[in-house]
Chain length 102, copies 2
DNA sequence: ATGATAATATCGCCTGACAATATCGGAATA
DNA sequence: TATTCCGATATTGTCAGGCGATATTATCAT
């Protein structure tokens, strides 16, 4: 699997993106990430979510689904701006690294 | 500036990319990164280069330029594979996050 | 109430970020 | 050749984050 030092930033962006589409919980995020080939343990995922919330990029609320409590995350205005900035950077990467060939 | 926890992976990829085009030194890398809006201090850049070398993604050689020693880095076969994997992941990000609009 | 289940939270160790500081090596000067 | 300068690279010390393992929590079924 791709070395973690390369993809952890990608993971953050995937999270912000999904949280911009609809409220999404930790397990659901984990599942989405797995779909993309990112296998994060709870010890990595949850602290990351808490941090993104603390920084003001995500907003959290609780909901009960199938008898279990889930914490749902939605992106904030500030999170949207970060996502937009990140998109700009991704474009630059693409223009440079993927222009020819990829 | 964009939060570091998002972009440090991008920086690595830029480094591998440039090192795949031609031998490039620390200062030159720093300059390239600044061009992209990434301002890394020596305490971040050099240890990162050493680590990428140690992991076998980069190969180092010394050269004297304008009376100063520079360490030039070139990508390795293994580094190329990482870069290729990363490109795949970037594509996924683009398809998902940038598809509509950006 | 109790146990089972699954989602979230935390602990502890280790690695990495980073600003500040040190080192190193060639070139120029004398 | 000793000295000094300069800019590139290296390292140090502190703090934040990654991550596997473990604990906690809240709900439902019995």
């Amino acid at each position: 699997m791709l070395d973690r030092e390369f993809f952890l930033g990608f993971v953050r962006i995937h999270i912000l993106y999904h949280a911009s589409k609809e409220p999404i919980s930790g397990v659901e995020i984990a599942k989405e990430l797995r779909r993309h080939g990112y296998y994060l343990s709870p010890g990595t995922l949850y602290p990351a979510l808490h941090r993104l919330e603390k920084k003001g990029y995500l907003e959290r609320s609780s909901r009960v689904v199938a008898g279990k409590v889930r914490k749902y995350y939605v992106i904030t205005q500030q999170g949207l701006e970060v996502l937009k900035d990140a998109s700009k950077k991704i474009r630059e990467l693409v223009d440079e690294v993927l222009e020819e060939g990829g």
